[in-house]
C-alpha cells in the first residue's frame, strides 16, 4: 500500500469534515487487473488489513497503478494501516506497507466513528 496526495484530498484539506475530503480519503485505488480479479464493481467495499491495523474502504480503479499495489489518498483511513516505527529518523512508513485486500460487505465508517473507534 502506498499513500499520497490527490487533487480532491488537497481541495478538501482545509475542510476535512466535508464529504469531498472524506469520500476521497476513504477510497482504496487498485489497478484494473486487481479490480477485475477481485470481482469488484461500483459501490463495493474492501477490508484492508496490515500488521498495524485494519479499515474498510470503498474500492476504486487507478489505471496508472501496476498490479499488486494499492493507493490510498493520505488521511485517516490510510493511517489505520501504517505503523509508528520511524527507523530512527522521525518518519513512519507511509508507503510500502504490506496489506491484505479482501472484498467485504462491511460499511465504510463515518469519520467520527473511525476516529473514535475503540475509545
Amino acid at each position: 500500500m502506498i499513500s499520497g496526495r490527490t487533487l480532491a484530498q488537497g481541495a478538501g484539506c482545509e475542510d476535512k469534515m466535508s464529504p469531498l475530503y472524506i469520500n476521497e480519503v476513504s477510497c482504496c485505488y487498485l489497478s484494473e487487473d486487481d479490480y477485475r480479479a477481485l470481482g469488484l464493481s461500483d459501490g463495493m467495499n474492501l477490508l484492508l488489513t496490515s500488521p498495524h491495523g485494519s479499515a474498510v474502504l470503498r474500492a476504486g480503479v487507478d489505471k496508472g497503478l501496476p498490479q499488486g499495489i494499492v493507493f490510498i489518498p493520505m488521511g485517516p483511513w490510510a493511517n489505520m494501516l501504517t505503523g509508528t516505527d520511524t527507523n530512527g529518523c522521525g518518519m513512519p512508513g507511509f508507503k510500502g506497507v504490506e496489506v491484505e485486500v479482501t472484498p467485504t460487505d462491511e460499511k465504510v465508517l463515518d469519520i467520527r466513528e473511525l476516529m473514535l473507534r475503540g475509545r
Binding site: 482545509e14 476535512k16 487507478d62 496508472g64 499495489i69 509508528t84 510500502g96
Partner: protein, 432 residues
C-alpha cells in the same frame, strides 16, 4: 463596494503563487482568479470554527477567548513534557512565538516536516544540496525530472509557473523547449505529461539512484542487466539524458522520504546531483507541501540551530530525529500534553500516534474543524494567515515572501493567540 486585489499570495502549497487576483465585496472574498483548485478552495473559505471551545463531560462547549487561553495555559503549565506541533501552515512570526513558548515551558517543538520532507532535511544535513531558485529553473532548465512527486495533483501550478511547462528567458518555447522525465511507482497525471516515464518498484529508489551514479561515474559495465526490475539499458539512456542536459533539475517528493530508505534515498539523490555537476549544470529541490513548511524549518534553524524536532526540556535546544520527533514522542508516550497549531495530526499520523494523542490533553489552534478537533480539549479558532492576517512565509526554494491581510476578521491571529497563552502562563507562574 467591490475591491480588486492583485498579486495576492496563495497560502496553500509550497509554490506560494504570488499572482492571484481576489475580488472583495463588503469585507467578503467573492471571487478568486488565477489560483488552482487547491488554492481557490482555501482562499474562498468555508466552514469555520465559530467560537473557542472547552471540553466538558466529553462535549466541546463554547466559551470566551479568555477562558480558552487560561485553560490552555493551565494544561501547558501542569504538563511535564508538552509537545507543540504543526506550524507549517502559519507564519514565521507565529512560529517565533511558539519557540518562545516551548523554551519557557520546557516543551518540544516539532513541525509537520518530520512526516513530510524531514528525511530530506536530514539528507541535506549529511550531504549538502546543489540548489537554485525556482526562477533559475524556469529560465534555464532544459531537463526537468520529477522523482516520486506528482505536482499535477499536489502542486497544480508548479509545472506552468516554474518547471516543465513554464516559458523562461532561455526556454521561451516552454514545454517544447524542455525534456521531462518522471520516475515513480505509478503512472500519475504528472507522468502523462512526460517525455519519458520510468516505473520503478516501491522501495527501490536507493538502488536505482546508486545505479545511475555508477553509470555516470563510468562503471556501467559493473552493473547487472537488471536493477531492481529496471533493465540496465533504460538506466543508461536516462543517465545520458541527464548528462546531455544543459541545465537539469530534479524535483523530488514523498516518494523518496516515505519509502524504505527514507533520508538515505535523499542523501543518495543529492550525491547523484553533485556528481552530475562534473558533466553539466544540475540542481535538486524538495517539493515542499504546506505553504510555509520551508519557513518553519528556517525559523527553527536560526533560533535553535536545528530545523525541526527541537526539545527544550533540558533548558537548551536538543535535536535527535527518531527521539524528539512527533511520531516517536507520541508512540513512546514521551509527551503528556499537546498544542496543535495549523495542522491535523489525527488525520496525518499513524493510528498508534493518534491513540496516544487521545490519552492526553490537547489544545488546538486552527481556523477550521478537522479530525484533530475530535480529540481536542481546548479549541481556539484563529484568523487565516495570508487572508485575514499578515506575516512572512518561505516558498519551497527558500524565497521569503510577505503575506498580506485581504479582509478584516474578528478572529485573533496565531501570533495574538500564542502571546495570550504565554501571558496566561506567566501569570499562573507568578501566582504560584
Amino acid at each position: 463596494m467591490i475591491l480588486q486585489i492583485e498579486d495576492v499570495l496563495c497560502t496553500f502549497c509550497g509554490c506560494l503563487c504570488d499572482d492571484i487576483r481576489v475580488e472583495v465585496n463588503e469585507g467578503r472574498i467573492e471571487k478568486v482568479r488565477g489560483a488552482c483548485r487547491l488554492g481557490s478552495s482555501k482562499i474562498m473559505g468555508h466552514n469555520r470554527i465559530k467560537s473557542p471551545m472547552i471540553r466538558k463531560d466529553g462535549e466541546l462547549v463554547e466559551v470566551g477567548y479568555e477562558d480558552a487561553y487560561r485553560r490552555a495555559a493551565e494544561i501547558l503549565v501542569s504538563a511535564k513534557h508538552p509537545l507543540l506541533y504543526g506550524w507549517a501552515s502559519t507564519t514565521c512570526e507565529a512560529l517565533k512565538k511558539g519557540i518562545l513558548l516551548a523554551e519557557e515551558i520546557g516543551g518540544v517543538i516539532d513541525t509537520t516536516a518530520t512526516v513530510c520532507h524531514g528525511p530530506s532535511i536530514i539528507g541535506i544535513e549529511e550531504k549538502g544540496l546543489v540548489g537554485s531558485t525556482l526562477g533559475q529553473i524556469k529560465n534555464r532548465a532544459d531537463l526537468i525530472v520529477f522523482w516520486g512527486c506528482n505536482p499535477s495533483e499536489a502542486h497544480p501550478r508548479h509545472t506552468l509557473r516554474y518547471s516543465s511547462n513554464a516559458c523562461g528567458r532561455f526556454v521561451p518555447e516552454g514545454r517544447k523547449g524542455r525534456k521531462v522525465l518522471v520516475i515513480d511507482v505509478r503512472e500519475t497525471r504528472t507522468a502523462r505529461n512526460a517525455d519519458r516515464f520510468l516505473r520503478i518498484q516501491p522501495g527501490t529508489d536507493y538502488e536505482i539512484i546508486s545505479a545511475l551514479r555508477m553509470i555516470i561515474g563510468g562503471k556501467a559495465d559493473s552493473l547487472p542487466e537488471d536493477i531492481a526490475g529496471v533493465p540496465r539499458k533504460d538506466l543508461i539512456e536516462i543517465a545520458d539524458m541527464m548528462k546531455n542536459a544543459k541545465f537539469g533539475a530534479i524535483f523530488f517528493g514523498l516518494g523518496l522520504t516515505h519509502s524504505r530508505g527514507r533520508y538515505k534515498n535523499v542523501d543518495n539523490a543529492l550525491s547523484l546531483v553533485s556528481e552530475l555537476n562534473s558533466h553539466t549544470k544540475f540542481v535538486i529541490m524538495a517539493m515542499r507541501g504546506h505553504y510555509n513548511v520551508t519557513g518553519a524549518g528556517q525559523v527553527l534553524a536560526w533560533s535553535s540551530g536545528y530545523p525541526m524536532a527541537v526539545d527544550y526540556a533540558r533548558g537548551a535546544p536538543y535535536y535527535n530525529p527518531g527521539e524528539t520527533s512527533c511520531c516517536d514522542l507520541l508512540s513512546r508516550r514521551d509527551v503528556d500534553a499537546a498544542l496543535i497549531i495549523a495542522s491535523d495530526p489525527a488525520s496525518n499520523l499513524p493510528r498508534g500516534c493518534v491513540e496516544a494523542l487521545g490519552e492526553m490533553p490537547v489544545i488546538q489552534i486552527d481556523p477550521f474543524e478537522n479530525p484533530t478537533t475530535l480529540f481536542a480539549d481546548v479549541v481556539i479558532p484563529s484568523a487565516i494567515a495570508g487572508i485575514e492576517a499578515e506575516g512572512t512565509a518561505y516558498r519551497m526554494d527558500g524565497l521569503s515572501l510577505r503575506l498580506r491581510k485581504l479582509v478584516d476578521t474578528e478572529y485573533p491571529s496565531d501570533v495574538e493567540i500564542l502571546q495570550a497563552i504565554l501571558d496566561n502562563i506567566r501569570r499562573l507562574r507568578d501566582d504560584n
